[in-house]
Symmetry: C2
Subunit: 403 residues, 2 copies
């Protein structure tokens, strides 16, 4: 008998019929001999409705009140699922973050989970009652309601699974799993059957929306297997798990395309050692180049933050007596991610050669141990992603390392 945590997203509980569908799946899992704990998001659309109300009241609402407001969405869906399970003769009980309790810090709207108590949950499980936990919300030490940021219900699911030492955290969503790249972009995209925590974190930070990054960090830390799958069919989805040998043999596991970033360049900075680090300590993916004793420094920021970033950067640029600050929103960032590239030096040159072969100019490069990102002109973004998907053989299982 396994203990399974099932997290259902907003689309999966979007109306009473879909909630009934979820209840059927829970019932089936239970009938197969498992203990089940359910974590739910708000009904789709509900959180947005509440955010609109908050913004009607104040353009930048106080975040404590904002959290108290938007956490009602999960409170409602959890109660409705408990009622629906009961209507099918299955004992169930909803639990709020504050009732469990899921203790967080006090960073309203972006709180981090510090502890998940298990007393009430274990008692319910032992009594044969299915706990239905509100995702996305917690409570701080002072008793204020907090929320965990967009996608936070994933993190609730994994944190509850970690606290209960569950065998798996199943994340039910409206797609079949994690794909080698966005299928809308590249029809040859293939569902991954397995991906490592580190790869998944890179994919998420590069724009793949299927899981909140923090949930994967949490899963890695506590070694909780995540199974991302669809709530609308019974097919197996993607397992996000600890890296294994087989994974390391594949050079590249996925390709991402992010069109929501902008490039900022500070040009003509007097080239003294330490200046770059002074500017960029808080910014990742920065790079600098030097010519005639003056350096250019370049980095990317989300387009949504560009105004704020430029305001800050211009101040610093002035104090450094830099020549000018340039912004370019007409870019795309295409990235390859793979645990296998750690020990294989040929991956980067293969990527650059493939892009050059299509006459795509690389404007910026940034790397980590398991990813390489290239900034290219926006109009080449889709082409670049498709080319890389093909070059690294992702439509047929991915190029392997020669061993």
């Amino acid at each position: 008998m396994a203990l399974i945590v099932q997290k259902y997203g907003g689309t999966s509980v979007g109306d009473i019929d879909r909630i009934r569908n979820v209840a059927n799946r829970v019932a089936k899992t239970r009938k197969e001999g498992n203990d089940v704990v359910v974590v739910v998001s708000a009904m789709s659309g509900e959180t947005d409705r509440l955010i609109r109300l908050a913004q009607q009241a104040h353009e930048t609402p106080d975040l404590r009140e904002y959290d108290s407001l938007i956490s009602t969405g999960e409170q409602a869906s959890a109660a409705l699922l408990a009622i629906t399970l009961q209507s099918m003769g299955i004992p169930a009980r909803s639990f709020l973050g504050s009732q469990i309790r899921i203790l967080t810090d006090s960073a309203f709207s972006l709180a981090r989970i510090q502890d998940v108590e298990t007393k009430h949950l274990r008692r319910a499980i032992k009594a044969g009652v299915i706990p239905v936990v509100t995702g996305f919300q917690g409570v701080d030490r002072a008793g204020n309601i907090t929320t965990l940021g967009r996608g936070g219900s994933d993190t609730t699911g994994v944190a509850v699974a970690a606290a209960l030492k569950a065998h798996v955290c199943e994340i039910y969503t409206d797609v079949d799993g994690v794909y080698t790249t966005d299928p809308n972009l590249c029809p040859e995209a293939r569902k991954l059957s397995r991906i490592s925590y580190d790869e998944m974190m890179e994919m998420a930070s590069l724009g793949a929306k299927v899981l909140q990054i923090r949930s994967v960090e949490f899963a890695k830390k506590y070694n909780v297997p995540i199974h991302v799958r669809s709530s609308f069919n019974d097919r197996s989805g993607t397992w996000v798990v600890k890296e294994d040998e087989k994974m390391e043999k594949v050079l590249v596991s996925g390709v991402t395309l992010n069109k929501n970033e902008a490039r900022v360049t500070i040009s003509g900075v007097p080239d003294k050692p330490g200046i770059a680090s002074k500017i960029f300590t808080p910014i990742s993916d920065a790079q600098n180049s030097s010519a005639d004793g003056l350096a250019d420094m370049t980095f990317t920021v989300p387009k949504a933050d560009i105004k704020r970033a430029l305001r800050l950067v211009k101040k610093t640029a002035d104090s450094l007596q830099a020549r000018e600050v340039l912004a370019d929103e007409n870019i795309a960032k295409v990235s390859i991610v793979g645990a296998g590239m750690v020990s294989h030096s040929g991956v980067a040159s293969k990527m650059f050669t493939a892009l050059a072969g299509e006459n795509i100019n690389i404007l910026m490069i940034s790397t980590s141990e398991i990813k390489i990102s290239c900034v290219v002109e926006a109009k080449y973004g889709e082409l670049a992603a498709r080319v890389l998907h093909k070059v690294f053989g992702l439509e047929k299982g991915g190029l392997k390392k020669e061993s």
Copy 2:
């Protein structure tokens, strides 16, 4: 400087514009030098929306889950009002029943308040922060969310006022106050400037919907003056207060008409002492008459409960070997209420004479110290109410006792 608790009903916080209107009134009261604590209902329509969802999930939803679900309405409106006050530069903070805490018993959906802690509220008031309290909800000893029944926010308002020893609990609603009778029924109806707790309780139990009965019981017990008034104008409304000499001089303060009751008769009951009390201990307003050694027993129940009542009564009637059980839904109950009738015997005969003068047959009579109710045929209900309103001089301040 006074401490004023202001309770706003669902219509008063029905949308963001109206919430802004409430915030303006709170600001004004504060500017006049008062400390203010606000209690809010859910935005109008919201509770009904949530109830519909619950009933879609299950015809008779588990009441613990039901309470957790419908309490979200007040959680949202309290946060929205706090945000709106803050947008006007007024420090404010929402408080849930569980955060305050408002301790209740565990009778989900009809819980009773046992204690209101004041520590957090006093701290906020002292810091110049306006507490915005969720009406209608509390928490039981086990940490479950409870609700107080329809109109429960009134009771929250009065209970908070009692706990804080506030000078007044202002109940803001969509009418101007308590009227001598329903103005839709009788255009001469007059707003009462004052009414006693006992009279208000009778009026409420007889169908006047302006206040939840329990809130008045609470106010009487702790001697909290209630001021019922409109949130859409600045006129003074009706004060519900302790009885005073002036009130006692008026024979009748109000006339109510209730068309939502049905009459049940058990006829041909063997007339042994004690039988009536056996049947009717749990039922008020029952009466019995006797002829040829067989008694008829008659009582009224809300029409909504008639099926359940008949099922129960038929069982009892069989065991008593009664002849038959009859139900009549075609009735109305017209009542006069007044603290002054306690010590004045002529009131009842004046009432009966007035009805007889219009050829209205009285089917049943029931009385308490400060009210007399007559059941009449439904078609005569409005006429009866208008006649009594006139006979007791309610359009011009009410008939006085000769002293």
